[in-house]
C-alpha cells in the first residue's frame, strides 16, 4: 500500500490529538469590563504642573504614564526628530513628597540598542515610537518598534524591563504581513477576570482601530477591530461605561476635522462603525477616562479657533455632551495627551511645542468638581 495516504492519516490523527490539547487548555476570554470605582471628590483641589521637559535640541513627543508602586513614570520618545534612527525612549519618575510631586532628571529608559539585544529573535531596531505600560504584566512595556521602513512597518514589542533596561522582548503576533503595521497609543483596558486588553491600530494604507486580547501566557489570543469606510480611524481611546458598554474615541488620519466614535455593547467583541461626533479634532489623538457614574473626563484639541490648545472637558451623560473645564495653551501645539488615575489623583501628560517637549500635570476630582 502507498505510504503517503498512511502518513497523511497519521498526521491527521496527530492533529486531532493536538487539537484536543489546545481546546482543553483554552480558557474562554472574559468580555466584561472592570469599571473603576467613582473617583472620590476629595483632595486639595489643586492643579499642579510637575514636569515641563524641553530638550535643547531635537524632539520629545508622545508621553505615556506608567504606574509604579511609589508613583508614576512618564515615558516619551526623544531624538533629533520623530522616526529617526537616533530616537530612544526617555523617562522620568514622579514621586509624591508630602503635598508636592518631584520629578527625577530625564534619562534614557529604553534604547534601540538595548531593545535589539533583548528581542528574541535578535533583530535590528531602527527607531522607537509610542510606548505604553503593559498593565497586565507589571514590569513590562509595550513599545512601538520599527525595524524596517517607517511607521507603517512598525510592530508592537512586549518588553520585560529591569532597573538596567530591557531584559527580554518579543513582538506581538498581530499581522500576517510580516507582522507589521500595528502601533499603540492608549492605555490598556481592565476586564473583570483581571485580564487586560490593548487598544492598538493598523496603518498600512488602510487603517483601523483594534482591541487586542491576551491569553494567560501573555500571548495574543484575539483581536477585534473598529473599521470605517468613511474615515481613516486610528489611535482608539477606549473608555468603559459599564461591564458591557464602552466608547472608543478615534482620530481620523485624514483631515475630516472631526473626532470619531465607535461603541461596543458586548464588552468589546463587536464595535459599531465609527461615526463623526460633531466635535472638532485636528487629526490628533485624545485621552479620556471614567470618573464614575457616567461621568467622563477628556483631554483633546477640541477648539477649531485654537487647535493647538489642549482642552479638558467633562461629560455627565456618558459622552453625549461635554463642557470645557480647563484650557492649556502653549508653548506651541499641545498634542498626544494621556490621562490616568493614580490613587485618588489624575495625571495628565502631553507633548508641548509641536513635539518639542513633554509636560505632566497632577490634579484631583475635587479640582474637577469645582470647575
Amino acid at each position: 500500500m502507498d505510504l503517503v495516504p498512511l502518513a497523511i492519516l497519521a498526521l491527521a490523527a496527530l492533529s486531532l490529538g493536538l487539537s484536543a490539547v489546545a481546546i482543553r487548555r483554552d480558557r474562554p476570554l472574559c468580555w466584561r469590563f472592570a469599571v473603576p470605582d467613582p473617583l472620590p471628590e476629595t483632595g486639595n483641589g489643586r492643579f499642579c504642573t510637575v514636569l515641563d521637559h524641553r530638550p535643547e535640541t531635537g524632539q520629545a513627543h508622545a508621553p505615556a504614564i506608567v504606574p509604579r508602586e511609589d508613583g508614576v513614570s512618564v515615558l516619551w520618545f526623544q531624538g533629533s526628530a520623530e522616526a529617526q534612527p537616533d530616537v530612544d525612549i526617555w523617562g522620568v519618575d514622579l514621586r509624591r513628597q508630602g503635598d508636592t510631586w518631584q520629578a527625577s532628571e530625564p534619562e534614557p529608559h529604553l534604547t534601540r540598542k538595548g531593545l535589539g539585544r533583548a528581542l528574541a529573535p535578535h533583530q535590528l531596531v531602527v527607531t522607537l515610537g509610542n510606548t505604553m505600560s503593559h498593565d497586565g504584566t507589571p514590569g513590562h512595556l509595550l513599545a512601538t518598534v520599527v525595524s524596517v521602513g517607517g511607521w507603517a512597518m512598525a510592530a508592537i514589542a512586549d518588553v520585560t524591563m529591569s532597573r538596567d533596561g530591557p531584559v527580554t522582548a518579543s513582538k506581538l503576533d498581530l499581522s500576517p504581513i510580516l507582522n507589521r503595521s500595528f502601533l499603540v497609543k492608549s492605555p490598556m483596558l481592565a476586564y473583570e477576570d483581571g485580564s487586560y486588553a490593548l487598544p492598538a491600530y493598523f496603518e498600512m494604507g488602510p487603517t483601523f482601530g483594534a482591541l487586542v486580547r491576551f491569553d494567560d501566557a501573555g500571548r495574543v489570543r484575539d483581536r477585534r477591530w473598529m473599521r470605517s469606510r468613511r474615515a481613516k480611524v486610528i489611535q482608539p481611546m477606549i473608555v468603559p461605561l459599564d461591564a458591557q458598554r464602552a466608547l472608543a474615541f478615534l482620530r481620523d488620519f485624514d483631515r475630516s476635522d472631526a473626532l470619531w466614535l465607535s461603541r461596543t455593547e458586548d464588552g468589546g467583541q463587536d464595535w459599531s462603525a465609527p461615526e463623526p461626533t460633531g466635535h472638532y479634532n485636528p487629526s490628533a489623538p485624545v485621552a479620556a477616562l471614567s470618573l464614575g457614574d457616567g461621568r467622563l473626563l477628556m483631554a483633546a484639541n477640541a477648539d477649531p479657533a485654537a487647535p493647538d490648545a489642549l482642552i479638558l472637558s467633562v461629560s455627565d451623560d456618558e459622552g453625549t455632551s461635554w463642557r470645557e473645564i480647563h484650557r492649556l495653551t502653549g508653548p506651541g501645539a499641545l498634542r498626544y495627551p494621556m490621562l490616568r488615575r493614580v490613587g485618588g489623583e489624575i495625571v495628565l501628560v502631553h507633548s508641548t511645542g509641536g513635539k518639542h517637549g513633554v509636560a505632566a500635570h497632577v490634579f484631583d476630582a475635587a479640582w474637577v468638581a469645582a470647575r
Binding site: 502507498d2 503517503v4 495516504p5 502518513a7 497523511i8 492519516l9 498526521l11 491527521a12 496527530l14 492533529s15 486531532l16 493536538l18 487539537s19 490539547v21 489546545a22 481546546i23 487548555r25 483554552d26 535589539g116 528574541a120 529573535p121 535578535h122 533583530q123 535590528l124 531596531v125 525595524s147 524596517v148 518579543s170 513582538k171 503576533d173 499581522s175 500576517p176 504581513i177 510580516l178 507582522n179 493598523f202 498600512m204 494604507g205 488602510p206 487603517t207 483601523f208 491569553d215 501566557a217 500571548r219 495574543v220 489570543r221 484575539d222 483581536r223 477585534r224 477591530w225 473599521r227
Partner: protein, 182 residues
C-alpha cells in the same frame, strides 16, 4: 527556543537563496555547498547587522518557507517531489490575496483572527490533510501539522497562520506560476 527556531528557519531560507544563485552557474553539489556555507554563516553571525536586518524583515519565518526551500533542494538532488500544479498555485494566490486583504481590513471578515483559536485551527489542519489525501501530496499536511505542533507548544507565533504562511509566498508563487505558464 523561539529565537533558535527562527534562526534555523532563516538559515535554511537564506541558504536556499545561496543554493539557488549558485545553481545558476554550478551543479547541485557545488550549489549545495554554497547554500550550506550561507546557512552556517547565518547561524554563526546571528548578531551581525545583515543577519539581524534579515531577521527584522522576515520574522516570523514559520514552517512553510524553510519547508519549500528544503523541498526545492531535494528536487534538485533528484528526490521525488510532486510539483504544484498551475491551477493549485492560481487558487492559492487568489485565496492568499483575499486572506491578506482581509487582514488589512479590506474585507468585512478578519480571517487572520481564526488562527488564534483552537477550534478553527483544528478544522483548517484537517481540511489541509484531507486535501493532501485527495491530491496524494504529503507536503502540505506535513507543513500544516508541523505548524500546529509548534503553535500548540507555544513555540513562535500565537497565530497558526504565521507558522504555515508567509508574505514572501506571494512573490514566490507568482514567479513559479509565471515560469509554469511561460
Amino acid at each position: 527556543m523561539r529565537a533558535t527556531l527562527d534562526h534555523i528557519a532563516l538559515a535554511i531560507v537564506l541558504g536556499w537563496m545561496g543554493f539557488a544563485l549558485a545553481g545558476l552557474v554550478a551543479g547541485p553539489a557545488l550549489a549545495s555547498i554554497a547554500g550550506g556555507m550561507v546557512s552556517a554563516l547565518v547561524l554563526v553571525l546571528q548578531r551581525s547587522t545583515p543577519v539581524a536586518g534579515a531577521m527584522a524583515l522576515l520574522s516570523p519565518l514559520g514552517v512553510m518557507l524553510p519547508a519549500l526551500a528544503l523541498r526545492d533542494v531535494s528536487a534538485a538532488w533528484g528526490l521525488p517531489v510532486l510539483p504544484f500544479g498551475t491551477v493549485e498555485i492560481s487558487v492559492f494566490l487568489a485565496a492568499y490575496a483575499a486572506f491578506l486583504a482581509s487582514a488589512m481590513g479590506l474585507l468585512p471578515v478578519d480571517l487572520y483572527r481564526l488562527g488564534y483559536a483552537p477550534r478553527p485551527v483544528a478544522a483548517m489542519v484537517l481540511i489541509v490533510c484531507a486535501y493532501g489525501l485527495v491530491a496524494g501530496s504529503l507536503f502540505l499536511p506535513l507543513v500544516a501539522v508541523t505548524g500546529q505542533v509548534l503553535w500548540v507548544a507555544g513555540l513562535g507565533s500565537s497565530n497558526w497562520f504565521d507558522h504555515v504562511l508567509h508574505a514572501m509566498l506571494m512573490p514566490v508563487a507568482v514567479v513559479v506560476l509565471l515560469m509554469q505558464v511561460f
